[in-house]
């Protein structure tokens, strides 16, 4: 279906939207029978170098509960200077500034190619970006040095006017005042005491007696004065802060034998959140938490300081044996919600060989759109480059990050919104288009994403509510409008509006059309998100069963087969890959916890629920390229049969990037042929996968673990664990897992169309 392929690709490029179905069944009943819900992956800030923002305010529908933005789908009466909202059919006059409107002089938002348009609006004072470093000092000396270096380096990446702050913690939590000359000054909090936001602000001297109104935040100037002690423009405190970081010492409190260092991560975060809450509510701010171990004291404690008590494992959790889990999770969730409410995002950079409590803390990032980065040590390129990646810039020289995003969805009346899955929190907006049927984070048509990157992608789940007996007129179209307000990294307030429309189709008469409009990639990811979302709250087996059932139902619906003859089973091209995705999903670390620590699971799920479609697919089904003298690199089956002596394999699992030299290649390389001029081609062959890998590394965030190995190499297990279905691996670090030969899935493998890759 090249047409649909193109259509899908075009829509994705323009609007950042991929629907599971590109023709919508016209009734609720039909929609339900399709198994995969009408849903989409939406990337609100998809990079659009070709889309210059417009400098005016959007025109809104005047109906109070609609407020849809004027878009190309609206009926416009140029003479009467009115337009009809395509969602509520309200007729609205154009504002005075549109007086000159005419058929030949249309504003951009009325042009079809601007189904996605971005407005720059002037609202409120522009506040600089805020970066608040929260640094664990209970690190090994090496790690601390490396981390200090990274932090110092990051200062140079920040825009000069960005505000920066520093909190360090160990047994105590120190909020460093950056404005003072001479003496380095910091406020210290006890690491064991849960403080309310108000207490924190009082203790930091942020509350002036006069300004303690009911909900009165101190006036801005006063705020600035108070806050400026802790959050200072980079250009002013650059030197100070560099020195301060340079003098940062490991936590001086003695750690007795057999104990973990006391690490007050919970209080540190609480203070960070409280600080920002008190000073810059509803302003884009990034709390960057660097931890080298689990929180061991105070609120948010994940494990006690006794080394003999290991940190909780999945086993413990299943047996309900994790003492601190619930309490800590509750604590961090509360923090995350507060932070989200104020529009501040929290990143977690956890570098340690053991777990660091990501399971408990994941919500901090998940709910606020922050990053989670997991590594072995701060002293690795994985961390340093990932950290730099946070500050990468786009074609305009702006950070690839946005703050305080609010996504609002408006639908035409046949549709309702069930929910969203992604790095967002509900704003609990009860609009008419909100469905009672919740999928993901539902019950609202507005979500907040405290931090967004161009790749941040939400899965949006919809519901067709049109009744079967109320057919939609032929050629009728449904429409959805995504309104994303956010703070651009250059501090501008912007609104991006995407309005899309799809045709309705009668499922009974047009089932073939509907089938061919199926976007199996999007559907796989959307279903996977649902599965992962369920996995967060349900037992693993239940989720797997649910997935299997869905797959079977789908196959029943669309598959063609003869009874009792498995080999006769056929799926149309538009569905052919779907089962394979599901197969890989079943055994992916997103759903399987075996051999993964709780932290790792959290980490993988975190990334899975926010990456765009392409990356998500890679996660579900790693891709494998084969390089040989026989031709250009080609994607090959993720199977042990692909491992050949004269090939170089490049596997990308999103989290790992493995280059594997076949036996022969490895021997040649050892023999040093690549150094010989006459074997230049061999050298190029060796280089080709590396170049490709570098391309991936440059764009990938977070930085994958890069592994260059060969036949028989110890690191080859990363590859073998993915491809060889008959082998069991021990994987110390990541997510190797036992492969289960799925008799049932294997049948589908045969129909794999490698063209898709």
């Amino acid at each position: 279906m090249s047409t649909y392929q193109e259509f899908i690709q075009q829509n994705e490029d323009r609007d950042g939207v991929r629907f599971s179905w590109n023709l919508w069944p016209s009734s609720r009943l039909e929609a339900t029978r399709l198994v995969v819900p009408v849903s989409c992956l939406f990337t609100p800030l998809k990079e659009r170098p070709d889309l210059p923002p417009v400098q005016y305010e959007p025109v809104l529908c005047s109906r109070a509960n609609c407020k849809a933005v004027l878009n190309p789908l609206c009926q416009v009466d140029f003479r009467a200077k009115v337009w009809a909202c395509n969602f509520c059919f309200q007729r609205n006059p154009f504002p005075p500034s549109y007086a000159g409107i005419s058929e030949v002089n249309q504003p951009a938002e009325l042009m079809p190619q601007f189904s996605t348009i971005e407005y720059i609006v002037q609202r409120g004072p522009q506040t600089p970006l805020i970066f608040l470093y929260v640094v664990d000092t209970c690190l090994e000396e090496e790690d601390l040095q490396a981390l200090k270096g990274s932090l110092q380096m990051s200062l140079s990446l920040l825009p000069p006017n960005a505000l920066v702050g520093l909190i360090t913690f160990g047994r105590m939590v120190q909020v460093h005042e950056l404005s003072c000359e001479g003496i380095a000054k910091s406020y210290v909090f006890r690491g064991t005491k849960d403080l309310t936001s108000k207490q924190i602000q009082e203790m930091l001297g942020l509350m002036k007696p006069a300004a303690t109104g009911p909900q009165g935040r101190p006036v801005a100037p006063q705020d600035a004065v108070a806050s400026c002690r802790f959050l200072q423009p980079v250009h002013r405190v650059d030197m100070n802060l560099t020195d301060l970081l340079g003098e940062l010492q490991r936590d001086p409190w003695p750690v007795p034998q057999g104990k973990r260092p006391l690490r007050s991560t919970g209080v540190a975060l609480s203070v960070a959140v409280g600080l920002l809450e008190g000073t810059f509510p509803n302003t884009g701010a990034r709390v960057m938490l660097f931890v080298g171990g689990p929180p061991t004291q105070g609120p948010g404690m994940v494990v006690g300081d006794e080394l003999k008590t290991p940190i909780r494992s999945w086993h413990d959790i299943q047996k309900d044996n994790a003492r601190h889990l619930k309490k800590a999770t509750k604590f961090y969730e509360a923090l995350a919600n507060r932070s989200a409410a104020n529009g501040h995002c929290i990143d977690i950079y956890a570098c340690a060989l053991d777990q660091t409590g990501l399971l408990e803390m994941k919500c901090l990032s998940n709910l606020t759109g922050g990053h989670i980065v997991m590594g072995d040590s701060f002293n690795t390129s994985l961390f340093t480059q990932t950290f730099q990646g946070v500050f990468s810039k786009d074609f305009n020289g702006d950070f690839r990050m946005a703050f305080g995003g609010v996504l609002e969805i408006k639908t035409s009346r046949e549709l309702k919104v069930c929910g969203a899955i992604g790095p967002c929190v509900s704003l609990n907006s009860k609009a008419p288009c909100v469905s009672e049927n919740e999928m993901g984070i539902g019950g609202t048509n507005q979500w907040k994403m405290c931090s967004l990157t161009p790749s941040s992608t939400l899965g949006i789940y919809l519901e067709v509510v049109n009744q079967h007996n109320a057919p939609i007129p032929q050629g009728g179209r449904g429409a959805i409008q995504f309104v994303t307000q956010y703070q651009h990294s250059n501090t501008q307030k912007r609104i991006r509006v995407t309005t899309i429309t799809r045709n309705w189709a009668d499922a009974q008469s047009q089932i073939q059309h509907i089938e061919s409009s199926f976007d199996q990639e999007a559907a796989a990811v959307l279903m996977a998100r649902l599965g992962v979302f369920r996995a967060e709250s349900e037992e693993g087996p239940d989720v797997l069963r649910w997935l299997d059932r869905q797959l079977i139902r789908l196959c029943q619906k669309f598959g063609q087969y003869n009874k009792e003859d498995p080999t006769s089973f056929r799926l149309s091209e538009s569905l052919s890959l779907y089962p394979q995705f599901m197969f890989h999903l079943r055994r992916s670390p997103f759903l399987q916890v075996f051999n993964n620590s709780p932290d790792e699971s959290s980490y993988y799920r975190h990334h899975f629920t926010r990456q765009d479609l392409t990356q998500s697919l890679i996660m579900i089904q790693p891709i494998l390229y084969s390089y040989s003298f026989h031709g250009p690199p080609e994607p090959v089956l993720l199977d042990s049969s692909s491992i050949l002596p004269d090939r170089i394999l490049l596997m990308d699992t999103f989290f790992q990037l493995v280059i594997y030299h076949g036996e022969t290649i490895a021997q040649w390389q050892k023999a040093g042929y690549q150094e010989m001029p006459e074997y230049q081609n061999f050298k190029q062959l060796l280089k080709a996968p590396q170049d490709d890998a570098n391309d991936i590394l440059e764009t990938r965030f977070p930085m994958p673990r890069y592994i260059n190995t060969e036949h028989g190499g110890s690191q080859a297990r990363f590859l073998l664990s993915k491809v060889n279905p008959s082998q069991t691996h021990n994987n110390l670090y990541a997510w190797g897992q036992v492969r289960i030969v799925h008799p049932w899935g294997r049948g589908f493998m045969g129909s794999l169309d490698s063209e898709i890759f």
Partner: protein
């Protein structure tokens, strides 16, 4: 034997010996002595003091030797001829010697030595020890006579004078006698001055003379001795003497007693002693002796001087001659000089009848001393005496006595002996008593000069009057009987001066039951087995044997202990004893530490605890053989066996948690709120700390102090500083969570000064700048202390916090206070609440601090009410100090503050201390007053204990005490020294026990009693209405005095006020206590001031309370280098408009300038000729190049150096506004707040007493 003993003596502690100075004396003296008498004596003399030497030379040498013995039984010894005595006494002395020996190292030792032999011969080895005590008891009387001790001599002087006065009085008519005396005086007059100086020495010498005199008397002495030594029979007789004498001594009242006592005693023992008479007969000679005495003084001054003295002393020859006779004369003279007294006492006592003449003389003296107060009494008997004298001994009685020749004699004896003798007997104690009784030696001299003085005295009625310099003027005034003459009532100045004049020799602590010189007197101490009075002072050195007696007398039994007192440079600090790994050797049962009182038995294999009688094995490594006296051979090599004060090295068992302590830390917590910054305080502190940090306390001046330091500033929040050496800049860590204090950092907070010097200096430079613009006015306080506490906890060490605080802590935090200043409560039943802390928080905090060994010193700079009562809880409970600078202004208060701060930081201090007072069976330490915390009833816990802190311990009977064993107490303080060493400081104290109330009254120390009463009362205001507390005080004192009157004084008219000699100042001092701001606040005294004073007093020692309650007021007329002008009494009447006066209270220093002061004086002091141009805001005098100015500034400096707190000089111009404040300290006057004047109060007291008696 003697020799042997001597040798041991020497070995003892190298130092101690030196201390005794025998060397100087010894050599010269010895030489002569040796010539005359065997070396043995020499030693005694040596120790005894120069005087002895002198004496010996004179021919008393033998006696001198005796003197030492004499201590115990000089009088007796005296009678015996030197040689004869020697042998004869030997035996008897043996008894005494032990006593002496035990306590006194050198002197005694010498004495002991001499005695020693005898004891061996006579008494069994052990007995000696016991004997010692017993003897002590017995000896007391004997000893008193023995004067050999320093006091003895001096006292004699005074006593003599007193006696003289008494004599005069009694002999009013005697005047002629006076003349008789006069001769000597006249001759002496010139010498008189000598007396002053020399007298003391002379006295001491005199004693010897006395002893010599005794030589004749020997018999008497012998008897006496015999009595003493011969426990059974003699004791009784002696006792009587003692009792009698004491009483007599104490009061002139004694006359009566003397009579009584004497009769028996004299009759019994004395009859034999006929010799005395001879002495008496020699009385004339005595006068010559006096001359001798003078010469003696010279001796005293320099051994070599003796020769000169001799030269001067035509006396020498006389001396030679005198030996026999001389003694007696001396005795009489004694009345004049020392010898007189002792001998006189003895003699008199012994030979009442025979001695008539002398007695008469003496009596007169005694009588004179009696108070002229007579006013009241006058009516009855001796009008004059009645009042004033009443105090002193009812002149009345004396009067009567005087009339009756015989009676007189007894009286005389008593008077002399009793009055003086007792004192003499008391030897040391007596000395004083005489002093008190007799105004000043000088007066005495005049008196001596002529008996006439005595008459005068009578006229005056007041002995005091006589003593007082002003006396000369006074007589006329005094005569008016209707109005009580202020000059006729007991004068503190007189008493003080008498004591000074009397104290010429070092005070040796070896003799049990002897009272040390007054705190106002400069004297040297030689530790011979009891703690120096610098460490321990008791209210009574003769404790009643039974609880009934104690209750009857109402005299508080207490000791003021200053465990870490600083000793003058010429005294050796306590030795440190290491008993090895096993730790100090202690009694198995009561855990008393090894001390001189332990009795070694079974050849030294065991020792018996003298506190609980339990027998404990001696550990093998500590075993030592005993000598024939039952003493360990190494007794003098071991401080713990021969000294009253010493230290043990504590083993790890004595450490907290059984860990060797970390070096302590000092943490400075500085208020940086608006007020502190504005007043300049912060910058002053920071500036000063920079240099002060180089002067942290250390034990070895060569080594840097190991004390670590930390810094915190605070207002509403706390700022800790990281001053780690490796940092380029200090780091500030702000802790705002004041509700739950913690220490934010570990490494870098407490640092070594030298290592982190640069960072610290940088910090101290920056602190004032950082807070220069602060607008924060609220402060916290509780969390500040918690912070320091937590820091010390984190560092696991003890330490001290220096908190500099300005305002009431009203910021929201634990320990938050509210302003509760409500002056309306004053005088109501709720007044007590003002002294109580507002919140229990600080009590708990204090407890925690003590547990950690965290001492808190608080410097307050309030501009308004800060609730000292509450803020002070922690400092007071942790052994800290509070300093208060109200309305602090950098310019005028900086000096005072900085000096206080310097001293406070630099002074030696012990940490994490626990003090325990153990007592021998029969008494028990029941109550403690001071800056400390107590978890149970016995352990006094002090987080910090510095050299200025005193603890008053009250004792109660729980059983009967025995006169033989006396009462022992051992104060052990376990502490961590400033170098981090764990140590035990031990102070041992033994006092006598008495079954006669008179003994009690004769051996009291009023200053200490006042110290106790004030602390008792100031604690009382916490729980009782102030008025009730005042009434309690008055009642108790009235009972004390009434009891005396009833049981000890001679019968006399009820109209007479009769005061014990030792307590004649009780009323005036008590009145001062009652009028203090705490008990009777003026309208302008803030609640904070009262609370501050209340807490301040609680840890004062006797010297401090003395000058606090009775300020020192010096007339600045002629200032001679070397000597201070004689103070005048604290009354406006004593101020001359034309004079300039310096008044010192220990806290304040005023320079009062009369309105019509001489220009020259102004020029000399201020450099300005006009009264109007004096700038009364100056805090220091201009530096002028004239001797007067120089000397005045010297005096001021020396005053400041004496006190633990720096006194700001306030210049007060007469009739200036500031004069009101000054007048507040004229404590003999009626106070603005309604406090009674001295005279009024005395009358009131008299009334109370009469009520009690009727």
């Amino acid at each position: 034997m003697n020799v042997n003993q001597h040798t041991p003596m020497a070995p003892p502690y190298g130092q101690p010996q030196p201390g005794y100075g025998q060397p100087g004396y010894g050599q010269p003296n010895y030489a002569p002595l040796d010539g005359g008498y065997p070396a043995p004596y020499a030693p005694h003399n040596g120790p005894a003091s120069a005087y002895h030497p002198g004496i010996p030379q004179q021919g008393y040498s033998s006696f001198t030797s005796f003197p030492s013995k004499a201590m115990a039984a000089n009088p007796i010894s005296d009678p015996c001829s030197p040689l004869d005595l020697g042998p004869a006494r030997g035996p008897p002395t043996s008894g005494p010697p032990p006593v002496q020996a035990a306590p006194q190292y050198n002197q005694h030792s010498s004495g002991d030595i001499q005695n020693g032999p005898p004891p061996v011969t006579q008494a069994p080895p052990r007995p000696p020890a016991s004997m010692q005590y017993n003897q002590g008891g017995v000896n007391m009387s004997a000893q008193q006579p023995s004067f050999p001790q320093h006091y003895g001599p001096p006292p004699t002087m005074h006593q003599v004078t007193n006696q003289m006065t008494g004599m005069h009085i009694s002999s009013g008519p005697p005047t002629p006698a006076g003349p008789g005396y006069a001769p000597p005086p006249s001759s002496q007059p010139p010498t008189s001055s000598h007396y002053g100086g020399t007298p003391q020495p002379s006295y001491s010498q005199s004693h010897p003379p006395a002893s010599s005199a005794p030589s004749q008397p020997p018999p008497s002495s012998a008897p006496a001795v015999s009595q003493q030594y011969y426990p059974s029979s003699a004791p009784p007789s002696q006792q009587p003497f003692n009792s009698l004498p004491p009483t007599s001594q104490q009061r002139f009242v004694s006359p009566v007693q003397p009579q009584q006592t004497f009769p028996p005693s004299s009759s019994s023992s004395y009859s034999g002693p006929a010799p005395p008479p001879t002495h008496t007969s020699s009385a004339p000679v005595t006068q010559p002796q006096q001359p001798f005495l003078p010469p003696q003084p010279p001796f005293s001054s320099a051994p070599s001087g003796q020769p000169p003295a001799f030269t001067a002393g035509p006396p020498p020859p006389t001396q030679g001659s005198f030996p026999l006779q001389a003694p007696p004369p001396s005795s009489q003279p004694g009345s004049f000089p020392p010898p007189g007294p002792p001998p006189s006492s003895v003699a008199s006592g012994q030979y009442p009848s025979s001695m008539p003449p002398p007695p008469q003389q003496q009596p007169p003296q005694s009588q004179p001393p009696p108070f002229h107060p007579g006013p009241p009494p006058p009516q009855s008997q001796m009008p004059p005496t009645s009042i004033g004298q009443s105090n002193h001994q009812p002149p009345g009685p004396q009067g009567p006595p005087s009339p009756t020749g015989p009676l007189q004699q007894p009286p005389l004896q008593q008077g002399m002996p009793t009055g003086y003798p007792p004192q003499h007997n008391g030897a040391f104690g007596q000395v004083r008593s005489p002093q008190p009784g007799y105004g000043g030696p000088y007066p005495g001299q005049p008196n001596y000069g002529a008996p006439a003085p005595a008459p005068q005295a009578q006229k005056r009625l007041d002995p005091d009057a006589i003593p007082s310099p002003q006396a000369s003027d006074m007589p006329p005034v005094q005569k008016s009987r209707h109005r009580i003459d202020p000059d006729a009532i007991p004068s503190p100045i007189q008493v003080i001066e008498d004591d000074k004049a009397k104290t010429n020799e070092p005070f040796t602590t070896g003799v049990r039951g002897q009272a040390p010189p007054l705190v106002t007197t400069n004297f040297q101490v030689k530790d011979q087995g009891n703690a120096s009075p610098r460490f321990v002072r008791c209210t009574a050195y003769n404790m009643p044997c039974t609880a009934d007696m104690a209750k009857q007398s109402q005299v508080p039994l207490a000791a003021v202990i200053k465990p870490l007192a600083t000793l003058p440079p010429d005294e050796t600090p306590p030795y440190v004893v290491d008993h090895g790994e096993g730790g100090p050797i202690r009694c198995n049962r009561c855990k008393a530490y090894m001390c001189p009182y332990m009795q070694f038995i079974e050849g030294g294999r065991r020792f018996q605890c003298s506190f609980c009688s339990c027998v404990t094995e001696v550990p093998p490594h500590y075993f030592q053989h005993l000598d024939h006296t039952g003493k360990r051979v190494d007794c003098y090599d071991r401080p713990e066996l021969s000294l009253g004060s010493y230290e043990f090295l504590a083993t790890v068992d004595y450490c907290k948690n059984n860990k060797i302590p970390q070096p302590p830390a000092f943490i400075f917590l500085i208020d940086v709120s608006y007020n502190a910054v504005k007043s300049g305080l912060v910058s002053i502190i920071c500036q000063e700390l920079k240099s002060l940090l180089d002067h942290l306390p250390r034990e070895n001046p060569e080594i840097d102090s190991v004390i670590r330091v930390g810094f915190v500033t605070y207002n509403k929040v706390l700022h800790f500083y990281n001053v780690k050496a490796s940092l380029a800049q200090p780091q500030m860590l702000v802790v705002s969570d004041v509700s739950d204090m913690f220490v934010p950092l570990l490494d870098g907070f407490l640092v070594n000064v030298n290592e982190s010097r640069q960072v610290i200096e940088s910090l101290l430079d920056q602190i004032p700048e950082m807070f220069a613009d602060t607008r924060e006015t609220e402060t916290v306080f509780g969390p500040v202390i918690q912070a320091g506490l937590e820091a010390l906890k984190a560092a696991d060490c003890a330490g001290k916090l220096f908190v500099f605080h300005t305002s009431l802590p009203i910021a929201e935090a634990p320990g938050k206070l509210k302003n509760r200043e409500d002056k309306k409560l004053i005088g109501t039943d709720k007044e007590k609440s003002l002294f109580q802390p507002q919140a229990g928080f600080y009590n708990n905090l204090a407890k925690e601090c003590v547990t950690q060994g965290c001492c808190v010193d608080l410097f307050l700079f309030p501009n308004q009410y800060v609730d000292v009562a509450t803020l002070g809880v922690v400092p007071v409970s942790t052994g800290g100090s509070i300093y208060k600078y109200t309305y602090f202004q950098a310019q005028s208060d900086q000096e005072r503050f900085l000096n206080d701060l310097r001293r406070d930081i630099q002074k030696p201090v012990g940490f994490d201390a626990v003090m325990r007072v153990r007592t021998s069976t029969g008494i028990r330490a029941t109550d403690f007053y001071g800056s400390f915390f107590m978890n149970n009833t016995t352990d006094v816990e002090l987080a910090g204990l510095d050299c200025d802190k005193a603890i008053t311990v009250e004792f109660k009977h729980d059983d009967k005490l025995s006169e033989e064993t006396g009462a022992l107490m051992q104060c052990a303080v376990l502490y961590t020294s400033c170098s981090g060493q764990r140590r035990l400081r031990i102070h041992n104290m033994a006092v006598n026990c008495c079954s006669q109330l008179a003994d009690l009254y004769r051996n009291c120390e009023t200053d200490t009693i006042i110290n106790f009463l004030s602390k008792y009362a100031f604690r009382g205001v916490l729980n009782n209405p102030t008025k009730a507390v005042r009434d309690t005080l008055v009642n108790q004192c009235a009972q004390i005095l009434a009891c005396y009157r009833k049981n000890c004084a001679s019968p006399s008219s009820a109209g007479q006020l009769i005061l014990p000699e030792c307590m004649k100042l009780l009323p005036v001092y008590l009145n001062c206590v009652l009028k203090s701001d705490v008990l009777l606040p003026g309208a302008d005294v803030s609640l904070d001031d009262r609370a501050y004073l209340r807490q301040l007093i609680s840890c004062m020692d006797v010297a401090e309370t003395h000058v606090f309650f009775y300020p020192r007021l010096l007339p600045l007329v002629k200032l001679e280098s070397g000597a201070l002008p004689v103070a005048v009494r604290d009354s406006e009447e004593r101020l001359s408009k034309g004079g300039v006066y310096l008044l010192e209270t220990g806290l304040h220093l005023f320079l009062w300038v009369g309105a019509s002061v001489q220009q020259e004086l102004l020029l000399n002091i201020f450099g300005t000729p006009s009264f109007g141009q004096i700038d009364s805001s100056m805090t220091s005098l201009p530096v002028l190049e004239n001797p007067f100015s120089q000397r005045l500034r010297e005096i001021i400096e020396s005053f400041r150096a004496q006190r633990s707190r720096y006194m700001k000089l306030v210049v007060v111009k007469q009739e200036d506004r500031a004069e009101l404040m000054f007048k507040h300290f004229l404590v003999e006057d009626k106070s603005a707040s309604g406090g009674a004047s001295y005279v009024d109060f005395l009358c009131h007291m008299h009334k109370e007493i009469r009520q009690l008696l009727s």
